[in-house]
């Protein structure tokens, strides 16, 4: 008969620590969205104090429009990142979709604008499906796959565009006016994207398949063991990310009105920065679409504030990079402290 040392400790104490553990995490996690909001408000206030023009309706609309494209991309990217993947191809998809959808106007006279939007969405969806299939079936790291499709899609775009470009002249006025249209002073585009963000956030929060994305990111092996169809969910996330990028491409065309083969270059890094700043953990498992959209809004506001303050736009990139580094450092510091606190509460309160 073996004798091993069976540990012996005090009996469990009543429930206080468990409840406050929850409150602690809730407090910390809610901080993120309100944190960004707070930074945003402070930023806007400071900038407005220096340069009151910043709060002009026209300027606010401008900022909003700028940010909406990134916010739209951020929703799709959030779904992907939450599942512990990454989609680097979105910039190329935006470019391809922008060109192809906009050039439809000159190829098909009188084409209804909604059809063009659908076409852009379809193009993006096709790219997203390709990504999704490769990542889920091939079990290949999405970093590598989407890096490759970033190249490939951009190359296809270049081949198709050749040396041409789509110019504003060829686009119908109704299309060109989309960024200008407002309801009660708020740009239509912003409202539409806000609805998409809300829908995305709701999906991730209240639907089983959305929650499963978090599970996959939190513990991929555990997700598989739990019977979650990891392949299907990841595939869906990439498909949605691609579709939204396709949609964003059409909006891009409406906004910038001249589209060549460089449209959307480099967007993926901005979006990932926005998403991380917005509280989505780069290794997945946590974060919200609302946070990511706020992150996009914050980055867009900073860009525009710099412009209004007369600071050279050349500072944009560094500030974006710096913010990303700051965000992940803070995240790390917080989660280390949180983990220690949670563990201490567990060991004190439990046996």
């Amino acid at each position: 008969m073996s004798t091993t040392l069976t540990p012996r400790r005090e009996p469990p104490q009543p429930s206080g620590p468990e409840v406050s553990s929850r409150r602690l995490t809730e407090r910390v996690f809610r901080v993120r969205e309100s944190g960004i909001l707070a930074v945003l408000i402070v930023f806007v206030a400071v900038t407005a104090a220096v340069q009151p023009r910043f709060l002009d309706l026209a300027n606010i609309q401008f900022v909003l429009i700028n940010a909406t494209i990134f916010a739209l991309l951020a929703v799709g990217e959030t779904m992907v990142v939450v599942s512990r993947n990454v989609d680097l191809s979105i910039g190329s998809v935006v470019g391809l979709s922008a060109y192809l959808s906009a050039s439809m106007f000159s190829h098909v006279h009188g084409i209804p604008i909604p059809v063009v939007f659908l076409a852009g969405l379809a193009i993006g969806l096709a790219c997203g499906v390709a990504n999704g299939l490769m990542v889920s079936l091939g079990r290949v790291p999405s970093l590598v796959v989407t890096l490759a499709t970033l190249y490939i899609i951009r190359g296809i775009d270049i081949l198709i565009v050749g040396g041409n470009q789509v110019v504003a002249r060829s686009l119908p006025a109704a299309f060109l006016n989309i960024p200008q249209d407002t309801i009660a002073g708020i740009p239509d585009m912003a409202i539409a994207v806000a609805i998409v963000v809300a829908a995305g956030a709701y999906y991730l929060r209240s639907f089983r398949s959305g929650r499963e994305l978090y599970a996959i990111g939190s513990n991929p092996d555990g997700a598989r063991l739990a019977g979650i169809s990891v392949g299907k969910r990841v595939f869906t996330a990439f498909a949605i990310s691609g579709a939204l990028a396709g949609l964003a491409g059409v909006l891009w065309a409406a906004q910038y009105q001249t589209i060549d083969s460089t449209a959307g270059t480099g967007y993926e890094l901005t979006v990932i920065s926005a998403v991380v700043v917005g509280g989505v953990a780069i290794f997945g498992g946590s974060g919200t679409a609302v946070g990511a959209a706020l992150g996009a809004l914050l980055l867009g506001t900073i860009t525009s504030a710099l412009y209004v303050l007369g600071i050279s736009p050349f500072w944009d990139q560094s500030i974006a990079g710096f913010l990303l580094l700051l965000a992940i450092s803070l995240d790390r510091a917080i989660s280390v402290r949180l983990l220690t606190a949670l563990r201490l509460r567990s060991s004190r309160g439990a046996t």
């Binding site: 091993t4 040392l5 540990p7 599942s83 512990r84 993947n85 990454v86 490769m134 079936l137 091939g138 079990r139 290949v140 790291p141 999405s142 970093l143 590598v144 796959v145 890096l147 490759a148 499709t149 970033l150 190249y151 490939i152 951009r154 190359g155 296809i156 270049i158 081949l159 996959i216 990111g217 991929p220 092996d221 997700a223 598989r224 990891v230 990841v234 083969s261 890094l269 990932i272 920065s273 991380v276 780069i282 290794f283 050279s312 050349f314 500072w315 944009d316 990139q317 560094s318 500030i319 974006a320 990079g321 710096f322 990303l324 580094l325 992940i328 450092s329 790390r332």
Partner: protein, 371 residues
């Protein structure tokens, strides 16, 4: 026997295959099974050799220019800096990390070079400063990753933007092009006695050095160990943080060198020098058989991959393929380099899926006796 409770949970002893685990990308994908490593890397390098041979043959068929010294020289010009940057990148990926800021360090170094030259600083002093800039840039990466424990993917995406931004701030819209001929000749002359560009020559020398370090020194062995199992490496007394920091600093230095070469070759310092190159570098390193999960890869593979990549690009050029769209080929190479090794396991997983579907239990029968 009860395991100690605190941080580590000891696994139950078992003789069965390991559960899959990801590292760098931390993704929910399968890591190659142990034992496959040595065999598969031999197969991989062999495949690369065959690819090189195939490209050489194809090139000779397509164009009489292909095997000329002049062509080799042009290749060196176009891809020398990229090739140089793959060397430290390979070591970083083997150690289990990644550095996406390489092209931005190149750009930043180019900007520093240009701006200081435009202020008439002596060139040798400028070299020293540029080297320091590169080293510091790498050091920041290394410290954030090792001291703060941040994931290298996220950090180097951030520094990619930060360093490119600094290049922008330094140069703005300016273009500096008045560099002395002695230096810009690096883009014109060959290494005396050969048809190689200086950048190609430097690549060869560095490849030998990096290869020797990786394969024949304790430092190199420790890189493999920490890529395969950071914990076990630590417990064997390997100073993981120190090694990784050194690797990132070296990467910074090498990219600064690449930045200098690039600037002189083009006789131009402008803020978008090297924009987007990091993807080429990563593509080549993965093509070399270096696993994105760390712990696997050889220098021979890197050199071969450089040859395959540049050879392919050259072929495309000679066949008048749209130069701007060569990214399609780079992307396809990347995909091939990850799908081919997985092909065998993919096939077996596929057939497993089929078997499982056929043998699926019928839930109704099982629940017959349930309360």
């Amino acid at each position: 026997m009860p395991p100690n409770q605190n941080q580590s949970q000891a696994r139950p002893e078992q003789d069965e295959p390991l559960a899959p685990r990801g590292a760098v990308s931390g993704e929910s994908t399968a890591r190659p099974a142990p034992g496959e490593l040595l065999r598969s890397s031999l197969r991989w390098e062999t495949g690369l050799v065959m690819a090189v041979i195939a490209i050489v043959i194809a090139g000779a068929v397509v164009s009489p220019q292909f095997l000329t010294g002049a062509n080799l020289f042009n290749l060196g010009l176009s891809y020398g800096e990229i090739a140089i940057m793959t060397l430290p990148m390979a070591l970083i990926v083997i150690s289990g990390e990644i550095d996406l800021s390489v092209a931005s360090i190149l750009g930043m170094s180019s900007a520093v070079l240009g701006i200081l030259w435009s202020y008439h600083w002596p060139m040798l002093l400028i070299f020293v400063v540029v080297a320091c800039v590169g080293a510091l840039a790498g050091l920041l990466n290394g410290l954030l990753i090792t001291r703060l424990g941040l994931p290298s993917l996220a950090v180097t995406i951030g520094t990619l933007a930060l360093y490119r931004g600094i290049a922008l701030i330094i140069l703005g819209p300016k273009t500096i092009s008045s560099f002395p001929v002695t230096y810009t000749n690096v883009g014109v002359n060959t290494v005396p006695g050969t048809q190689l560009t200086y950048s190609a020559g430097i690549f060869i020398v560095l490849a030998v050095i990096f290869g020797a370090v990786l394969h024949f020194t304790p430092f190199g062995r420790s890189i493999y160990a920490m890529g395969a199992s950071p914990d076990a490496a630590r417990f064997a007394g390997i100073r993981v943080k120190r090694v990784k920091t050194i690797l990132f600093v070296v990467s910074g230095l090498v990219c600064a060198l690449a930045g200098v070469l690039w600037t002189f070759r083009l006789s131009t310092a402008v803020q978008n020098n090297g924009l987007g190159l990091e993807l080429d570098v990563v593509a080549i390193v993965l093509l070399a058989g270096v696993s994105i999960f760390g712990g696997k890869g050889t220098m021979a593979g890197v050199v071969l991959a450089v040859l395959v990549y540049t050879g392919l690009q050259n072929l495309l050029l000679l066949t008048n393929f749209n130069q701007e769209a060569t990214g399609i080929v780079t992307g396809a190479i990347l995909l091939a380099s990850v799908f081919v090794p997985n092909a065998a396991s993919f096939a077996s997983r596929f057939s497993d899926q089929l078997r499982k579907r056929r043998g699926k239990i019928r839930p109704s029968a099982a629940r017959a006796g349930l309360k």
